[in-house]
């Protein structure tokens, strides 16, 4: 749908100008989102850019034949947007903070679906001469959609991980099939009835591929997948932007695509794994475990003893993991924090980059419970100081504190940077049960001489601990 290039008109000029402003707002918004002080305003800038682009499109857009959007259509568009806004708003307001990863996945799915559908419709548009981007819009959008839906289901506990050794070959086959189909559809002469059938095949094939692609990935790899799917949705939107020659869509989409890719790479680096390894090799699958059996026993501790240890510590570092999120223990954790701070204990939180189920998950949860973000310390900053820490409190974290990552070359997580909890003078581990972590690897930390275990639901344990400390 190339617009007639020479056709200058005031309305077309204003429309393009508004897209430029919207694009600038997106960039400023994302830039501001990367600093805590300006983040909230940045989000509003990006939203304002989006609102502006939507409004001017509705009022000023003309099809290639120069027809504006009829009033009747404009009213329909407005009513659909109004409905979507109200529903989206209510959902976003009602969702609990612990369910945030699912929510983001869900919205990502809707964006991907919209891209896939728009591109599919434009395939039939005789004015559309850009086949490649249209096909990419369909396939990338659909993969992002069905992949995000599966991710949503997994995060919400509705779908279980499903792996099998042949999975990676099936996925590879699906990917090749998608690419081949795209190439076939681009051949001259396929744009007739055959093309109309094949484009549907591509549409459904990419939906199935999205499901199969996310299905085997789970547990600790979830933040990587979510970030990757996010970036795919951006790319899909940019492809649709190509169809309409729309700079705001292209820039916005690519901006998100690039940002998502960088975030994905950061997550992979935090686990010392390549992206390919995350996508193809399901965790630990096919790997023969060369772990030595663990000698030693887990030592349990009573609440009152734990309270004593904490009370007499000067420096305490809390290491939260998904278990804290699952137990909704962030408020109880803040209670403990406040109480100990009043006693003059120095409390910090060590945040592993992939703790939780999405990038930065722990930060959001602790922020919800009003823990000042100055107390949240990143892994690289806290590790050199761990030896000076009196007590490390591990709450529902497992693999991110497993020393096997440092000293057991045979371990599936070997090489992954961890928080050096084992260097602290005392270690208290709050854990639901004796089970292993998501990577299903034994954790030597739990058998360490300095480690004491507190079994139970993190929230209840923390609440009781607060009670014990108060009674000292």
């Amino acid at each position: 749908m190339k617009m007639i290039q020479s056709g200058f008109s005031i309305s077309a000029s204003i429309l393009d100008l508004s897209y430029l402003i919207a694009a600038i707002f997106f960039v400023i918004g994302l830039k501001m989102l990367s600093r805590p002080e300006s983040a909230r305003a940045g989000n509003l800038w990006a939203a304002a850019g989006m609102g502006l682009a939507m409004l001017t499109t509705l009022v000023l857009h003309k099809d290639p034949h120069g027809n504006p959007i009829p009033l009747q259509n404009a009213m329909l568009v407005l009513s659909v947007i109004a409905t979507g806004t109200v529903i989206g708003w209510i959902m976003a307001r009602k969702i609990q903070m612990t369910a945030m990863p699912q929510m983001v996945s869900f919205y990502n799915a809707t964006g991907g679906a919209a891209s896939g559908l728009v591109a599919l419709m434009e395939y039939w548009n005789p004015d559309n001469s850009s086949i490649l981007v249209t096909l990419l819009g369909i396939s990338v959008g659909n993969i992002a959609f069905s992949g995000s839906i599966v991710a949503y289901g997994k995060l919400d506990g509705k779908i279980r991980d499903w792996t099998s050794p042949v999975m990676k070959y099936i996925n590879l086959f699906m990917l090749v099939l998608t690419v081949v189909l795209t190439v076939i559809l681009m051949l001259p002469g396929i744009d007739g009835p055959t093309g109309k059938v094949l484009v549907f095949v591509l549409f459904f094939l990419s939906l199935v591929y999205g499901v199969l692609f996310v299905m085997p990935i789970g547990g600790a790899d979830m933040p990587v997948v979510i970030s990757l799917l996010n970036s795919l949705t951006g790319v899909a939107a940019a492809m649709a932007g190509f169809i309409y020659n729309n700079q705001a869509m292209i820039l916005g989409g690519i901006l998100v695509g690039a940002a998502g890719t960088i975030l994905t790479i950061l997550m992979c680096r935090a686990m010392n794994r390549s992206l390919l390894n995350v996508i193809v090799g399901a965790f630990g699958a096919g790997q023969t475990s060369t772990q030595e059996g663990i000698t030693g026993v887990m030592r349990e501790i009573s609440l009152s003893e734990a309270a004593m240890i904490l009370n007499y510590s000067q420096k305490v570092v809390i290491i939260p993991g998904y278990g804290m999120a699952a137990a909704q223990a962030q408020y109880a954790c803040n209670e403990l924090d406040k109480l100990l701070t009043e006693q003059g204990v120095d409390i910090r939180y060590a945040i592993h980059p992939v703790a939780g189920r999405m990038p930065g998950h722990m930060n959001v949860l602790l922020a919800e419970a009003h823990v000042p973000y100055e107390k949240l310390v990143e892994m690289d900053q806290i590790n050199p100081d761990m030896a000076n820490v009196d007590t490390a409190v591990v709450i529902g974290a497992n693999d991110v504190v497993n020393p096997a990552a440092l000293n057991e070359p045979g371990s599936p997580i070997f090489g992954m940077p961890i928080i050096h909890a084992h260097e602290a003078k005392n270690i208290i581990v709050i854990k639901r049960g004796m089970g292993k972590g998501y990577a299903a690897i034994e954790n030597h930390l739990f058998y360490n001489d300095k480690t004491r275990m507190l079994f139970g639901n993190a929230k209840e344990v923390l609440q009781k601990l607060v009670g014990e400390i108060k009674s000292i």
Binding site: L33, P36, A39, R40, N43, A47, M50, A53, M54, T57, L58, D63, I69, P70, N73, V80, G84, G88, A92, M97, Y107, N108, T110, G111, A114, S115, V118, M121, S130, G141, A236, A237, A238, F242, Y244, N245, N246, A248, M249, I250, L251, G253, I254, L255, V256, A258, A259, T261, I262, L263, L266, M358, P359, G360, H361, N363, V364, A367, H370, Y373
Partner: protein, 110 residues
């Protein structure tokens, strides 16, 4: 080969934008502290709802005199994209609201 060059020529401006926007995206995000990863991802997710413009164009020019495929698919696409945009920005705002409130309190305390 000719097809490829034709494609490149036809989209030379857009390809320019893609490459520069790619670098811009990397540059803007590269040094973000992990405390902001979630809101940033969520905000970026809302921006990817920019597909709504495509939806508006599609539905805006759809034939409304009958139940055309454009009309039905257009409605679904605009609705989904709106969920992405509205929900995305509101969820991000909610997360960031918590960061801000807490900061003010912290200043008061110290």
């Amino acid at each position: 080969m000719e097809k490829i060059l034709e494609f490149l020529f036809m989209y030379r401006h857009e390809i320019f934008i893609v490459i520069l926007a790619g670098f811009l995206g990397i540059e803007v995000i590269a040094h973000v502290p992990s405390v902001l990863h979630t809101p940033l991802m969520s905000g970026a997710n809302a921006v990817s709802g920019v597909i709504i413009i495509g939806g508006i164009i599609l539905l805006g020019h759809a034939d409304m005199s009958r139940f055309s495929a454009e009309l039905i698919i257009g409605i679904i696409a605009v609705f989904f994209a709106t969920l992405n945009v509205a929900g995305g920005f509101v969820v991000t705002d909610r997360m960031l609201e918590m960061f801000r409130k807490k900061k003010n309190r912290h200043i008061k305390n110290s």
